[in-house]
């Protein structure tokens, strides 16, 4: 399943603009590709490509110290790399919204994606994150809007998990 005709990546970009997000950190995922491109093309948004996702958690702490609003984009496997760093959000009461594209759930082909994919929500919640799931395309924008509002209005880590049911499972040519 391809998302070439999906509107939600452009709608998410518009949502980031409405919320005055100026720092977007990324470990790429195919499902986020269009959104990342839109952000790169925007001179008012700094896109920071990370070597590992926990860097994005620390970046959000620094951004907020200086009055910038930041969001972290990653796939679910990267959530595991963030666990200890998320203590910054709790200790400092820092807004840390995350947009996570799921691997290792609906229709997964790759066995290696299953352990972290199935643990993603549990791990985030264990570290104090409010998690919304979006498993239908029409849920994505309202859910991310909520994730951004909850983070910046109530000073905590929040996440929207965009389900593989929407994104489609990577088939590695086995179709």
């Amino acid at each position: 399943m391809e998302n070439n005709f999906s509107l939600w990546p452009d709608e998410l970009y518009s949502l980031l603009k409405v919320h005055n997000i100026s720092q977007v950190s990324v470990v790429p995922d195919a499902g986020l590709s269009r959104l990342i491109t839109r952000c790169i093309d925007d001179n008012d948004i700094h896109v920071i490509t990370l070597t590992t996702e926990e860097e994005g958690i620390a970046l959000m702490a620094g951004a907020w110290l200086g009055g910038d609003k930041s969001v972290l984009l990653m796939q679910s496997s990267g959530v595991g790399n963030c666990i200890n760093m998320l203590s910054l959000a709790t200790n400092h009461r820092t807004p840390m919204p995350m947009i996570v594209t799921m691997r290792g759930d609906y229709g997964e082909f790759n066995p290696a994606q299953i352990p972290m994919g199935q643990a993603t929500q549990t791990v985030l919640e264990a570290m104090g994150t409010i998690v919304n799931r979006a498993d239908r395309p029409e849920d994505i924008v309202p859910s991310v809007d909520s994730t951004l509002r909850l983070a910046f209005n109530t000073f905590r880590p929040t996440a929207t998990l965009i389900g593989q049911r929407i994104l489609g499972a990577k088939t590695f040519g086995s179709d």
């Binding site: 100026s22 620390a58 110290l65 200086g66 009055g67 910038d68 760093m85 910054l88 400092h92 820092t94």
Partner: protein
């Protein structure tokens, strides 16, 4: 100029005192442990953000702050163990290349808070070479008191900068900053943003 002791290795606290005197409006992030105690011993203030956790994240906090406040000088002071845990961040930071960020690693070649176990720098891992390889153009290895004036000039100059200062491994008196992270964050935000800091939506 400043008293930095006569020993072969620099005294970490005297070095921090030298770096932070005449700091103007510099904003300082300190990695958890001894670096946080050091900047607090020199003088706790709203422009200090000493960490109690988030090991490996100090430099990235510096990057986020440097992007948000491009008119301010941001200084990250951290230890070798903390920097080793976030080596990838050197690649991330060099790629963004913020001109207002300086990173100083106080390198005693040991994990000082956990029983003085040796770190990788004790065995030859060269953090300056790693930073240069990542793309930092301006770097310095600080080993002698005679290097410190140049270090202070580099920190205060424009352009992304990375330094390693080889320091004594002997422990220093604990001087603890406030432990409530919400206070540490709020006070720095208020210092930078004024009263609007607490009304930002």
């Amino acid at each position: 100029m400043t008293s930095l002791g006569q020993s072969v290795r620099l005294d970490r606290r005297e070095l921090c005192r030298s770096i932070l005197q005449n700091r103007d409006d510099m904003l300082v992030i300190a990695g958890l442990g001894a670096s946080a105690w050091d900047i607090t011993a020199v003088g706790d203030c709203s422009e200090n953000f000493p960490l109690w956790g988030g090991m490996g994240g100090a430099a990235m906090i510096g990057l986020g702050l440097a992007i948000a406040q491009p008119q301010r000088k941001i200084l990250v002071i951290t230890g070798d163990g903390e920097m080793l845990m976030g080596l990838g961040s050197l690649a991330t930071i060099a790629t963004k290349h913020p001109p207002n960020l300086a990173i100083i690693v106080l390198d005693n070649e040991h994990y000082g808070e956990t029983g003085m176990q040796e770190t990788a720098t004790k065995h030859g891992v060269d953090l300056v070479a790693i930073a240069r390889g990542a793309g930092f153009k301006r770097t310095q290895l600080v080993q002698h008191t005679s290097d410190v004036d140049a270090l202070n000039r580099e920190i205060r100059s424009d352009g992304l900068f990375f330094a390693v200062a080889k320091i004594e491994a002997s422990p220093q008196k604990l001087v603890l900053p406030p432990r409530d992270g919400a206070i540490l964050q709020s006070r720095m935000r208020a210092s930078i943003l004024g009263s609007s800091a607490h009304k930002q939506i």
